[in-house]
């Protein structure tokens, strides 16, 4: 690993200042960043640890939904959101493994936007709002494709607010080696419609399955999507699954998520 300077600010303004430096890189849980740095595939000159900022920690109920601090570890979300937003808590409780969940954070996951990560499905599937040190970004505008987001240089996530749906569920089919999602589907039913977000399947990262949303908004049952099929175009092809297989999983898991959300 290349060396770097390490700073750990205790408030957002100080963090913003540190992040403005040339070659600065935010460090949250580090569960993806550290392995990357060990391989010498990333060489930040300054690492800004964001886990020492109290206002970026914890889960609470806000006016527009459940607010989760960006530096909140997955295991804490699993615990503290259990009553407020059970599907979100369950998703957080299924990321990686217990030790990863004790370090990895919501903000880190979203900033990285791995195409197989779990949290992007919850954020997009809930129509959540991403709060940064500079602005608010709607979920639909945040995800820009593979490992790509709306975040600008020096910008970092401070919290995310999730509108709480009437019903929701996340069903993940593990990629057996990495335990990321081979494909996973987050389904959330709101008063104004159903959102279906799919992760792990597309070469462009998390996406909404519009046909299923329309069908489920009309009839929220697994039967409603029985005649739909997800297109395999643009789906990931790798050792663990063909595009056609992933397309099949999208449909199967969507149905299972709807059933689980009943």
């Amino acid at each position: 690993m290349y060396n770097f300077d390490f700073v750990k600010p205790s408030n957002i303004p100080d963090a913003a200042k540190a992040m403005a430096a040339d070659g600065a890189q935010a460090l949250s849980g580090g569960q993806t960043l550290l392995p990357t740095m060990k391989q010498r595939l990333a060489s930040p000159s300054v690492l800004v640890s964001l886990t020492g900022i109290p206002e970026m920690q914890g889960v609470c109920m806000a006016d527009d939904g459940v607010s989760v601090g960006a530096a909140t570890i997955h295991s804490k979300v699993a615990q503290e959101a259990a009553k407020l937003y059970p599907a979100l808590a369950a998703l957080a409780g299924g990321i990686g493994d217990p030790a990863v969940r004790n370090r990895g954070t919501l903000g880190g996951s979203l900033a990285n936007n791995d195409p197989s990560a779990c949290y992007p499905a919850a954020v997009l599937g809930s129509g959540a709002t991403v709060h940064t040190n500079k602005r608010k970004i709607a979920a639909d505008a945040y995800f820009k494709g593979l490992f790509s987001t709306a975040l600008e240089d020096g910008e970092f996530i401070t919290s995310v607010t999730f509108p709480v749906p009437q019903k929701a569920a996340y069903v993940k089919f593990d990629q057996p080696a990495s335990r990321f999602a081979l494909t996973a589907v987050f389904v959330a039913k709101y008063a104004n419609g159903v959102r279906v977000a799919v992760t792990g399947a597309s070469e462009n990262g998390v996406f909404r399955w519009a046909e299923a949303e329309a069908a489920l908004s009309a009839n929220f049952s697994a039967a409603a999507i029985a005649n739909l099929s997800a297109s395999s175009k643009g789906m990931i092809s790798d050792l663990h699954g063909t595009p056609a297989y992933r397309a099949n999983l999208v449909k199967v898991l969507t149905g299972r998520a709807v059933s689980a959300a009943q």
Partner: protein, 789 residues
């Protein structure tokens, strides 16, 4: 009542205490004064000519102590293959030089072409990045069939068709086998791939080279399953270091599974580097390096054909295999697909005619060598899959077909058509036991229950045999081995009566420190706590061949048993002297030497003390001391065998396979420590299930490793596996070693893959899906695709 100590007891493992408290001492844990660090420059290309390497910038870096390239080792030897195999046409196999560092060409991704020694690991790695190397890329040779057909692209310039050898076993039988196929009422054929695996011992390889300029002695700490073999290879073949000036120490080793049998270039490099800079040089692989450079396992493409009558009696068996050896020949690479594979193609069956053809092929991939089971899993998989397919084609019961083809009890010793002599076995017994403990009778009810939950349940069977306890030196020598395959033990009775036993076997998880002490305890009648087993240091132990091929107990344990016999014989001499009796009248039992028919006796401790305080010994006829060494060269292989059953549930919507149950009925001969035997079976079965469902090492067409980390190479995890039901109560003791033991380390990995695959195919058939075969690993995607083809 279970015993609480000695042979047959489930003695708790003494080595566990240090492992459980963080006091194990693995190579990476060793810190030496003045220690420096090596990092390797590894090829990013599968196949390229090295045009030039400019080391100046790297050498000029602060903290860099030395830089090595292939040129530095051009004058020393290569790492040899342990067995010379003859092709069908009588030619000797091709054996290209395997250098310490690649010189002229790199031949697989990860092939080391330079090394840097520096004050810290990070400096060494930065200096590797500072090497200015120019490659001329060459087409990658990855696919075996293409490699054989391609006459222009060559992994080694001197080998035109990339074939190491073309082996027939037994060539003289070929015509008879072919004739039997021509007239057979039924022929079942199957093309299958035995998937390439990465052994993945949890401890990555590591080596520390230490040169003492004062004594001109070398010391090598390394992650090895056989320190003496490593010393022999480094000293006599690669580096030319006098053997008596090299001490190889394999301290605690975190698993091997074959991958740490072999000598690797990194070991030679750290020794050469330590000599050059006069300080210890340490190298610890990271997991990525392990994936790229540890010898991989399996990787066969086989067509197998079984000729039978309509009732399922086997008439003849014929196979054609391409076996990948990778870019260079690793030490056991040539014996694994031949004498550890072809000779096993009779299985536990009395098939009268068998012919095996194996072509081994060089490719631009990491070397392939023995991995848990080594050849025998490949043989077992081929046989048990084709037998299963035959049963389906002829609508026969797979249990009954196996029964009628088994070698029967009255046929032992049994000479197979592939030249092994099975000394003993009882295959009906293990199959009966399996049917009982696996509750075959209840399968239909379980299947109905699974169906209610929307799952397809299947039952798969595998009856297997292996040859282990490798093996008589005379036999292996005749077959091309360049070493002997005995083992050795020294029993040193200390003056106060406690005992140190120095053994040639090496424990890297098997529990020798406990089990070997149990045997000594039983034999000498002294407490296990008074016995220490010493292994892993060539300066302490007699020359032994180490641990692999389930040989430790059968071969080294037998050597120890012989040495104990000598100790007892010597003890009798001493007792005769002390008790003023004839030596022939002394009996040894329960830790006492006594004069038969009298109450005159000496304890073992008294004899031991006397041996070292020989105040009144008749020195002409009685030497002081009580220490004996024995070398044991077995008369034959041992032949463990067993029957395995797997039940799976397949999710029809996703193709995901879950192991519902796994049951083993094994015959390992006599069992020394049931707890440890069961643990060995569990671990072997887990690796077999891993091969069948999860693990696959893959290269793309450019020779890039696409499964190079735990992100993509699926290691079996706790939630992938069930509790296993294992039994080893069917015992036919080995007839030719003193302990009557056969070996249990590889069994699980040998017998389990076909049971799993047979179970999945069974589940699909019962659901009306006409799927005859799916290649391993049976990932959800593959199973779903086969179901929806």
């Amino acid at each position: 009542m279970p015993k609480d100590s000695g042979i047959g007891a489930s003695s708790k493992r003494r080595e566990d205490v240090r492992f459980l408290t963080g006091r194990g001492r693995y190579t990476a844990d060793i810190q030496l004064h003045g220690q420096t660090y090596a990092a390797f420059a590894r090829s990013p290309h599968a196949h390229a000519r090295i045009v030039s390497i400019d080391t100046k910038a790297a050498e000029a870096m602060d903290g860099v102590l030395a830089v090595f390239t292939g040129a530095d080792f051009a004058a020393v030897g290569g790492n040899p293959a342990g067995w010379l195999i003859q092709s069908r046409n009588g030619e000797t196999m091709k054996e290209p030089k395997r250098p310490v560092l690649a010189h002229g060409k790199v031949r697989h991704v990860g092939d080391a072409y330079a090394a840097v020694i520096a004050e810290t690991v990070e400096i060494a790695r930065s200096a590797v990045e500072a090497l200015d190397v120019v490659f001329e890329e060459l087409p990658a040779i990855v696919d075996m069939a293409a490699a054989v057909a391609d006459k222009t692209n060559r992994v080694h310039d001197e080998i035109a068709d990339n074939v190491c050898f073309d082996w027939g076993w037994i060539e003289d039988n070929r015509a008879a086998v072919d004739a039997a196929f021509k007239s057979a009422p039924h022929v079942t054929s199957l093309k299958l791939i035995n998937n390439r695996l990465v052994p993945n011992a949890m401890e990555p390889r590591a080596s520390i080279g230490v040169y003492d300029p004062g004594t001109e002695d070398y010391k090598l700490y390394t992650t090895s399953q056989n320190p003496h073999l490593t010393r022999l290879l480094v000293a006599a073949f690669v580096m030319g270091i006098p053997e008596h000036k090299l001490n190889v120490i394999a301290p605690d080793v975190g698993g091997g599974f074959g991958s740490k049998i072999y000598h690797y270039g990194e070991e030679a490099l750290v020794l050469a580097a330590s000599r050059r800079i006069g300080r210890p040089v340490k190298w610890v692989a990271d997991r990525s390096e392990s994936f790229l450079t540890d010898a991989h396992g399996r990787d066969h493409v086989t067509t197998i054909e079984l000729a039978s009558d309509k009732q399922g009696n086997f008439l003849a068996l014929r196979t054609e295999t391409l076996a990948n050896v990778g870019a260079y020949l690793s030490n056991f690479a040539t014996v694994t697909p031949t004498f550890l594979h072809g000779t096993l193609m009779a299985g536990p069956y009395k098939t009268p005619l068998v012919y095996v053809n194996v072509k081994t092929v060089f490719t631009n991939t990491a070397p392939v060598d023995a991995y848990r089971g080594a050849g025998r899993p490949e043989a077992t998989y081929s046989i048990e899959r084709v037998v299963d397919k035959m049963c389906r084609e002829l609508n026969l019961d797979p249990v009954e077909v196996r029964r009628k083809n088994f070698i029967q009890l009255d046929q032992f010793p049994y000479t197979t058509p592939v030249a092994l002599v099975y000394d003993t076995g009882n295959y009906q017994a293990t199959l009966d036991k399996l049917i009982d403990i696996g509750d075959f009778a209840g399968f239909e009810a379980r299947r109905a229950k699974s169906a209610k939950a929307g799952k397809l349940r299947g039952l798969g069977l595998s009856t297997w045999i292996e040859a282990c306890g490798i093996a008589p030196s005379a036999l292996v020598g005749a077959l091309g081995a360049r070493v002997g395959l005995y083992d050795a033990a020294t029993v040193r009775v200390n003056p106060t009566g406690n005992i140190s036993v120095m053994v040639g076997a090496h424990s890297h998880g098997q529990g020798h420190e406990t089990v070997f002490a149990q045997i000594v305890s039983s034999k000498l009648g002294i407490p296990e706590a008074n016995i220490d087993i010493v292994h892993g240091d060539t300066s302490k132990i007699p020359f032994g061949m180490g641990s692999y091929g389930s040989r430790s107990l059968a071969v080294c344990g037998s050597a120890m048993d012989r040495a104990l016999d000598k100790v007892i014989a010597k003890g009798k001499k001493i007792a005769a002297h002390m008790l003023e009796a004839a030596e022939g009248d002394i009996i040894f039992a329960d830790g006492k030497f006594s004069v038969t028919g009298t109450d005159k006796a000496k304890t073992f401790g008294e004899i031991a003390f006397s041996a070292y305080v020989p105040h009144n010994y008749p020195l002409e006829t009685l030497e002081p001391g009580l220490e004996e060494t024995a070398f044991y060269d077995p008369a034959n292989f041992t032949y463990p065998a067993g029957a395995y059953a797997c039940e799976v549930e397949v999710d029809p919507d996703t193709g995901r396979v879950e192991i519902a149950s796994f049951t083993c009925a094994d015959d390992f001969g006599n069992v020394m420590n049931p707890m440890i035997v069961e643990g060995q079976v569990h671990g072997g079965v887990a690796q077999g299930i891993g091969q069948a469902l999860l693990e696959g090492c893959t290269y793309d067409a450019n020779g890039q490793l696409t499964s190079g980390s735990y992100m993509d190479y699926t290691m079996p995890r706790a939630d992938d596996l069930p509790m296993y039901t294992v039994d080893h109560s069917c015992i036919t003791p080995c007839t030719h070693n003193p302990l009557g033991v056969k070996g249990c380390g590889e069994a699980g990995a040998i017998g389990s893959p076909p049971a799993v695959v047979n179970a999945v195919i069974d589940a699909l058939h019962r659901a009306g899906k006409n799927v005859t075969h799916i290649d391993m690993p049976l990932t959800p995607s593959r199973v779903w695709s086969a179901m929806n083809a």
